[in-house]
């Protein structure tokens, strides 16, 4: 794809770019790129071949996501009901996660927050006995619709897990761009290099690891590993980033760094975060949803809305009790 500029000679490079852009984003055609850049020899190109020619950043699958300022999208869960075998764990949960915002899912253990989160990027179905009802709508499409590929949904919806889990056999560099290989996305070395730095910078890890990118990812500290996982998830420029208690296994200072990272990513990607830590939810989220499963009943959202309102002026007594630490 990246090389396409060389093969396609008609009508002009600019037109190709425009077409691609229009296809991708539905945008108006950009003007011609900087003529200086046009004539310059670029240091990237597959196989190290340096050649003069047009800039084809837009034609690259990998870099496509970086063309727009933000790729954040709204995610809408509609009447999600989930079962494990015969046991119902969620009952008709609906929630809209606005684009570019941080939505925190809070609630006591076992209330179905994590299940809900895993439903959002189709990780739920990995459990053999699991089933669900309802819809998850992204870009106007139900990700569970029959025609939808599970891998496409997951590519658009990244996930970070409770325990940092960098791939042990890969270096930091390889971990960061693991998604490329795992999804079979072709990319030149230059594109990879760009992605590594870009993603690590987004995860605020670049400065800490830039001089040891070839060391194993497992050699980092817990907090760094978790940020590496965030970088890994961001490499494919997802629209949504799900985080399942990303800081619960970390010490306070690492937690702070993660929170800073989340704050940096806000606006760029829609973040849904599950957390047990009330202060954390308060600090980082724009919107909060309080989940609760009363004994022997499936989990439901008791109350959701603006974070400040949830914490300062909850309408439900149970929410009030929970956010003020009276139970949980």
């Amino acid at each position: 794809m990246y090389e396409s500029s060389e093969q396609i000679e008609v009508p002009s490079d600019r037109d190709v770019e425009t077409q691609v852009l229009e296809l991708e984003r539905g945008l108006a055609a950009p003007p011609a790129p900087d003529p200086q850049a046009r004539g310059r020899r670029r240091p990237w190109g597959r196989g190290g071949a340096r050649r003069a020619g047009s800039v084809d950043v837009s034609g690259s699958n990998v870099l496509r996501g970086f063309l727009g300022g933000t790729q954040a999208a709204e995610l809408r869960a509609e009447a999600i009901t989930a079962w494990f075998g015969d046991r119902k764990v969620l009952d008709r949960v609906s929630l809209t996660m606005p684009a570019g915002q941080v939505t925190a899912l809070i609630g006591p253990s076992g209330c179905g927050k994590s299940t809900f989160l895993r439903i959002l990027n189709r990780m739920h179905e990995l459990i053999p006995s699991a089933s669900l009802a309802g819809q998850v709508v992204l870009d106007g499409q139900d990700i569970y619709a029959p025609g939808q590929r599970v891998t496409d949904a997951r590519k658009k919806i990244g996930m970070v897990f409770q325990k940092p889990n960098p791939f042990p056999a890969m270096s930091i560099y390889e971990n960061t761009v693991a998604a490329l290989d795992l999804t079979g996305t072709k990319a030149s070395r230059e594109e990879r290099d760009f992605l590594v730095e870009e993603s690590l910078k987004k995860a605020s890890l670049w400065d800490e690891v830039k001089d040891r990118l070839h060391q194993p990812g497992g050699g980092l500290s817990g907090g760094q590993q978790q940020r590496l996982c965030i970088a890994r998830a961001m490499a494919l420029t997802p629209e949504i980033l799900l985080m399942d208690e990303p800081a619960s296994a970390l010490d306070p200072s690492s937690t702070r760094r993660i929170e800073e990272t989340i704050a940096d990513l806000r606006g760029e990607v829609t973040i849904v975060i599950v957390t047990h830590n009330m202060q954390q939810a308060h600090r980082i989220s724009d919107q909060c949803a309080f989940f609760l499963a009363e004994h022997n009943a499936p989990g439901v959202i008791v109350e959701y809305g603006d974070t400040e309102a949830i914490f300062s002026n909850p309408r439900d007594q149970r929410t009030d009790d929970y956010v003020n630490g009276r139970f949980g």
């Binding site: 009901t81 009952d91 008709r92 009802a133 569970y144 590929r149 599970v150 109350e303 809305g305």
Partner: protein, 341 residues
């Protein structure tokens, strides 16, 4: 925006949600991967079932001709005259395996406790390695060591045992004459005892590693709890480690037993085959199913082969039963249950 929402749940329709069909459409390469591994699994299944079926089908011919009961109770092995059974073979096989257990159990128990509880650092690494290596030593090496080295050194001990403990039936040796100043070693050679010593050595590693695994899983907290109550190391081992590793002890022992039952070459080299039940373990002459197969397959005609298959099948069934019991015990024990998760 400073509002919150309270979602409304109509209680009446609590159960009207129906699970969606979320069948995953796999990419072609994943589909291929699933099919290929499934094919491999099926292939293995077919091979294994084929082995079992082939053995069973072949064995049926021989068992049918003498009847199951006679097959199980006859001591003689003479398929040529249609008079054969596995009573003597199986008894001897089990006898050897049991003696092997008696010899190996204390050693492997002690060694595994030593490795997990006493030895530290490099000594522990060395011992673990040595015992794993012991498992990899080919049985023919053990066999020739047993034949050439151990037998000559163990015969005097066997003689001593039978001289002083001959009053215990299993240590009795027919034709032994303690008053004779010149010992007749032939009486004590090629016996179940000598064979079992070698087999015992061969099963030490498998038992030790099973037990070591189990013991090393004993939770640190419980150990420290025992120490905190003022226990000595042995007190801690007895009250925490051994109860915790009980499943490993039993499971390892049974796996060793299963291995001992199937041992061929070492016994093939050492034993002098007899087709009578000989419970005098020190006395020359014993047998085993595996040895009989190795000795007799060459000259076996169709029917004799079928008889050998029948013997082999019964050994296989016995070993299988023991192995399954062992894995059930291990899986059900505390030490094993944790390893699964």
């Amino acid at each position: 925006m400073t509002t919150t929402y309270l979602p409304d749940y109509p209680a009446s329709s609590l159960d009207d949600a129906v699970a969606r069909d979320i069948r995953v459409a796999h990419a072609p390469v994943d589909q291929a991967f699933r099919q290929i591994t499934r094919l491999a699994g099926s292939f293995v299944l077919v091979i294994m079932v084929l082995v079992g079926t082939f053995l069973s089908v072949k064995a049926v011919k021989a068992i049918k001709s003498v009847g199951v009961w006679e097959f199980l109770t006859t001591q003689k092995w003479s398929p040529e005259t249609n008079h054969f059974g596995i009573a003597a073979l199986l008894t001897a096989t089990v006898t050897i395996a049991l003696i092997a257990l008696v010899v190996s159990l204390p050693l492997s128990l002690g060694a595994s406790l030593f490795i997990t509880e006493v030895a530290t650092g490099r000594l522990r690494g060395f011992l673990t390695g040595a015992i794993d290596l012991m498992a990899a030593v080919p049985s023919v090496v053990y066999g020739l060591w047993g034949l050439v080295f151990l037998q000559s050194h163990m015969v005097p001990f066997a003689r001593w045992l039978s001289t002083y403990f001959g009053w215990i039936p299993i240590f009795k040796v027919d034709g032994a004459d303690p008053s004779n100043p010149l010992p007749n070693d032939a009486l004590y050679t090629s016996s179940a005892f000598i064979g079992a010593l070698v087999v015992g050595m061969m099963i030490i590693p498998i038992q030790t590693s099973m037990m070591r695994e189990a013991f090393s899983r004993a939770p640190q907290g419980e150990r420290e709890g025992a120490y905190a109550l003022g226990a000595t190391k042995w007190g801690m081992i007895r009250s925490v480690v051994i109860p915790f590793g009980k499943g490993g002890i039993i499971g390892g022992t049974m796996l060793g037993l299963g291995r001992a039952l199937g041992e061929t070459i070492a016994l093939y080299l050492i034993l002098s085959p007899v087709f009578d039940i000989n419970l005098h373990i020190l006395q020359n002459g014993s047998n085993s199913v595996a040895v009989t197969i190795a000795l007799r397959y060459g000259e076996a005609n169709d029917f004799t082969m079928s008889a050998l298959m029948a013997a082999g099948l019964s050994l296989f069934l016995l070993t299988m039963a023991i192995n399954f019991t062992a894995s059930a015990i291990i899986a059900r024990s505390r030490s094993g249950a944790e390893s699964e998760g």
